[in-house]
């Protein structure tokens, strides 16, 4: 087994099986790290908790809901305003957050009464909102509050409201992934099937495992609408509570982040016979084949092909401009759980970069299977990385850029490795054809930053060039390009706008005959 042993982790031998180097002869039966096991205490892992997996990742992107956490105020505060999942509901889900504010007396005497007061107050504060999710936290799980009973009591007293309860305390599992599972199962068990679907098309999908980071969902929604496909619900980015209650009415589940949402797709398949189609919204070829598959499913592949042709013609010259300049650059794909496999192959093929490492903070072995299968030989795959291992990997691999979270990005900055935010994106959205170009542009701007170049100069020792007052990115990136590429009329830099999402919200779509 080609396990990768980090020097910094020699003293904790159980870490050894959590990283592998993908060797030339290795397939998945020879190289796969362990995954989704309890974290080693004190290792300074990057993992979060099961509460955040449920509330912060999956619950909160629902846009028309009061999201209350039942516990001390910290869980609520800490998970508030650290994400970029927007909505077309004036970002209500980003702006308002609710905590029951459990105090010592409630720990001693119970906090159920407090919870009920909170629910009523919250509905009073936002009288237009009639839907609520309640998230259990460590403290209220341990004192054994019966949140379901209180929610039912309120629903009995206030017939116009509906409340969803998610019992996923922080300690429920090795990482946030435990919470993904719990909220998937709680939603299918308690809410799916309780609202009749409003069907407006012959072609109806649930779009699942998509969180509308910087507008990803709205980009994909645009394609689906152009094809005449109805998105009955999105689980959960830009998603609506009642639409998600009617998920059982779709013809097809289109799944993006299988890590966080395969459970509900699997259950919808077993309970309602709705098939599950895994897709990639990132990258031209994977996106095109995904749209084509969905089109084929409904017998409307011509509509898909039209979009593919239009979008490819519009954006491919821009993608290729960046590809020429990113060829051979070394990247680490170090996200949470799904982007390692969404990106590993297509970024190599379509941007020309070399993926030298993939890691997953909270993924399972299944994610590593996909990630390792999709990356090239020589890549280092790490499960549940920790601070010292990431540093060691960066020193060894010398990546030109890494894609990871905000805080690990600050660690990388200090050793002069630029980072892009893999979770929230820099200048997203990154899904869709234009989005993929935006990603390429962000990578280009990170790698070819003139300031980044200056960070290598030691003015106390090195010869200071003094050969001009500035550099442009292209003065750095085009040095080794052929004249033909540099002056190509077929290639061009990104020409899109800063905000690509607001115009989509104004757009009208063709009527297709039913």
């Amino acid at each position: 087994m080609p396990y990768h042993e980090f020097d910094c982790s020699k003293c904790i031998p159980e870490r050894k099986k959590h990283a592998v180097d993908k060797g030339p002869e290795d397939d998945l039966t020879k190289a796969l790290p362990l995954g989704y096991l309890n974290t080693i205490p004190g290792s300074i892992s990057e993992r979060g908790c099961a509460y955040c997996g449920a509330k912060h990742v999956i619950g909160t992107p629902m846009k028309d809901v009061i999201h209350i956490s039942h516990g001390p105020v910290g869980c609520t505060y800490d998970t508030w305003q650290t994400k970029r999942y927007i909505s077309d509901n004036d970002n209500f889900q980003l702006k308002a957050t609710f905590a029951t504010d459990v105090k010592e007396k409630h720990i001693v005497f119970g906090a159920e009464k407090l919870l009920k007061q909170n629910i009523i107050e919250a509905f009073r504060a936002y009288p237009d909102i009639k839907r609520m999710t309640i998230y259990q936290t460590c403290a209220t799980a341990l004192i054994g509050d019966d949140i379901d009973a209180i929610a039912q009591e309120v629903m009995d007293e206030m017939p116009d409201v509906d409340i969803f309860v998610c019992n996923s305390p922080g300690f429920a599992g090795p990482s946030q992934s435990g919470g993904h599972h719990k909220i998937n199962i709680a939603w299918i068990n308690n809410k799916v099937g309780t609202v009749e679907p409003k069907i407006t098309s012959d072609y109806v999908i649930n779009y699942v495992g998509e969180y509308n980071i910087q507008g990803d969902q709205e980009v994909m929604q645009d394609y689906f609408r152009r094809m005449g496909i109805q998105i009955l619900s999105t689980f959960t980015g830009n998603g609506s509570y009642d639409e998600l209650r009617s998920m059982h009415g779709a013809h097809l589940n289109v799944l993006e982040c299988a890590r966080s949402a395969e459970y509900i797709c699997n259950e919808l398949r077993v309970r309602y016979g709705i098939p599950r189609l895994d897709i990639d919204g990132f990258g031209f070829e994977p996106l095109s084949s995904s749209l084509l598959k969905i089109g084929r499913f409904f017998g409307i592949e011509d509509r898909a092909q039209k979009i593919i042709d239009e979008e490819t013609a519009r954006w491919k010259p821009e993608l290729d401009w960046y590809k020429e300049r990113l060829m051979g650059k070394r990247v680490c794909i170090w996200p949470g759980g799904s982007k390692l496999w969404h990106w590993a192959n297509v970024i190599h093929e379509e941007m020309g970069v070399k993926v030298v490492s993939v890691y997953t903070k909270f993924g399972h072995q299944g994610d590593m299977e996909k990630g390792i299968a999709r990356c090239e030989q020589g890549a280092l795959a790490i499960d549940d990385p920790n601070e010292l291992e990431s540093l060691e990997a960066m020193y060894k691999l010398k990546p030109d850029v890494i894609f990871t979270g905000k805080r690990p990005g600050e660690v990388a900055k200090k050793i002069r490795v630029p980072y892009l935010n893999a979770h929230a994106y820099h200048n997203g959205p990154y899904k869709g054809y234009e989005g993929w170009v935006r990603f390429a542009r962000d990578i280009y701007n990170a790698i070819y930053s003139p300031i980044h170049q200056l960070s290598y100069l030691d003015i106390s020792r090195d010869d200071i060039p003094g050969d001009g007052g500035f550099r442009t990115q292209r003065m750095i990136s085009d040095v080794n390009l052929s004249q033909e590429v540099r002056t190509s009329k077929n290639l061009r830099e990104y020409t899109g706008k800063y905000d690509t999402i607001s115009p989509l919200r104004e757009k009208t779509y063709p009527e297709f005959n039913k």
Binding site: P41, G74, A96, R407
Partner: protein
């Protein structure tokens, strides 16, 4: 009475102003050199606090978790602490100080961290790490008590209490800054230097604003040493600038080592900075030098350009850490502004006894509300109900109130992640007074232009 002190009427929190205790203890812990804390609880209690700190400072700080999972929550998780200490010591050879910070979950399950610290000292530290200097410090931070302010105050006290050790008088003062920014520490050290006062600054966090060096230095960390903490027992006096962040430690030193102590006022604004210098003078006998007269003069000169022309009568709401809020309100009054609403974001009952709040109640001659245990809904709800404001002062978590209601806002306090580099600017001292007044004025100016509200006034000024 014009100034009313009330407590939030609702039971719950809509858009919190504060997070919980462990965050405060973690923020204190990163101020100490060769220290990595272990937070005993679920992983989110660390992961998100590290993210919060890194959002604010645009740096990463090391804090570990005992990673309590389901089995630990059911059967007790002290074994996780033992393992965490060992793993941390093995992999971070420079670490000497390990606070063990509890959370709600491990307090509810009743894990005896004091007991496990004794056990670890007797066993692990005496055998595997014999000869290595290691300090394990239990810090109790049940999240359901107080707030991040208490957590900070408690942690500072517990660090001081653990280390303070009577020796020869060192001739220094202890300066407990409270929860401030690197820029504040720079400003305070500047004042000390001008006064030629030697001080132990708790905590030495100027280095939080750390450089990007050609040789690739990857850690940002505070610089308060174990020796500094030990020596707090030998100071000639303690100045705790904030009543709610650091005063517990000052009181401990006073009680245990008879060290003369002055608590407050937070040196925000000219008047409070004057008092701070007076206190320094009283404690050390050092005169206030001409250089500071001049510096104060520059501040007064700058502020005179702004106060009665632009700032006077502007209605302000202020939220955040209590000492900061009170200090800002006092300074705003000196600037002829009208703080209308002060929000103190936890249930600390002693706010009502704070002489500064009493002074506001006695002297404010227009309608002002001070809300205790407040949340940001106390701000938004009042705006919805007609409260007119010209300016909001507070941290970034309230940004959408400002954005949605078109009210200009100056970011101040912790965290201020939606503005660049604010941690570099002081709010204390004369430098802080200048920054605050000018930042408020410039924010109002930008708003006048954005709203076309007498923007032509600035044609000539």
């Amino acid at each position: 009475m014009n100034c009313e002190l009330i407590t939030k009427e609702r039971a719950g929190v809509i858009n919190p102003i504060f997070t919980c205790q462990p965050a405060g203890a973690q923020f204190a812990s990163i101020g100490i050199k060769e220290c990595i804390g272990i937070v005993h609880g679920g992983q989110g209690c660390v992961m998100f606090v590290r993210l919060l700190i890194s959002q604010h400072l645009k740096e990463s700080f090391e804090i570990a978790s005992s990673s309590v999972h389901e089995d630990g929550a059911v059967f007790g998780a002290l074994n996780r602490v033992e393992e965490a200490v060992d793993v941390l010591l093995m992999r971070y050879p420079d670490v000497k100080v390990i606070p063990i910070i509890t959370t709600c979950s491990t307090e509810v399950i009743g894990d005896d961290i004091d007991g496990v610290v004794i056990k670890l000292q007797e066993e692990l530290l005496n055998t595997k790490y014999a000869g290595r200097e290691v300090h394990l410090i239990p810090i109790h931070c049940p999240s359901f008590v107080g707030s991040m302010i208490h957590g900070y105050d408690t942690a500072v006290r517990d660090f001081v209490k653990y280390f303070a050790e009577k020796g020869e008088t060192n001739g220094k003062i202890n300066l407990l800054t409270g929860w401030v920014n690197p820029g504040d520490v720079t400003a305070l050290k500047h004042l000390l230097a001008e006064m030629q006062v030697d001080a132990t600054v708790l905590f030495e966090i100027e280095s939080f604003d750390s450089p990007l060096m050609p040789d690739g230095n990857h850690t940002s960390h505070g610089n308060t040493t174990i020796a500094d903490l030990k020596d707090t027992a030998n100071a000639i006096g303690t100045l705790a600038l904030n009543k709610y962040e650091g005063a517990k430690a000052a009181q401990y030193l006073e009680k245990e080592f008879d060290i003369p102590t002055i608590i407050g006022p937070t040196p925000i604004g000219i008047r409070n900075t004057d008092t701070f210098l007076k206190n320094l003078k009283r404690m050390t006998g050092k005169p206030i030098p001409e250089s500071l007269v001049r510096e104060r003069g520059i501040a007064l000169d700058a502020i005179t350009d702004l106060a009665h022309m632009f700032l006077a009568d502007k209605k302000v709401a202020i939220y955040g850490n209590p000492d900061l809020v009170i200090g800002l309100a006092e300074f705003c009054l000196d600037l002829e502004m009208k703080p209308k609403l002060l929000l103190l974001g936890d249930d600390n009952l002693s706010y009502a006894e704070d002489p500064r709040i009493k002074a506001l109640q006695e002297n404010v001659d227009y309608d002002m509300e001070i809300v205790m245990n407040a949340d940001l809904w106390d701000l938004e709800g009042r705006i919805k109900d007609g409260l007119e404001l010209d300016l909001i002062l507070g941290h970034s978590k309230g940004r959408f109130v400002a954005i949605d209601y078109n009210i200009p806002m100056v970011r101040v306090g912790f965290p201020t992640y939606d503005r660049a580099g604010l941690y570099r600017h002081p709010v204390v001292g004369y430098a802080g007074a200048i920054w605050l007044a000018e930042e408020m004025a410039n924010t109002l100016f930008a708003d006048m232009e954005y709203k076309r509200n007498k923007e032509w006034v600035l044609n000539v000024w």
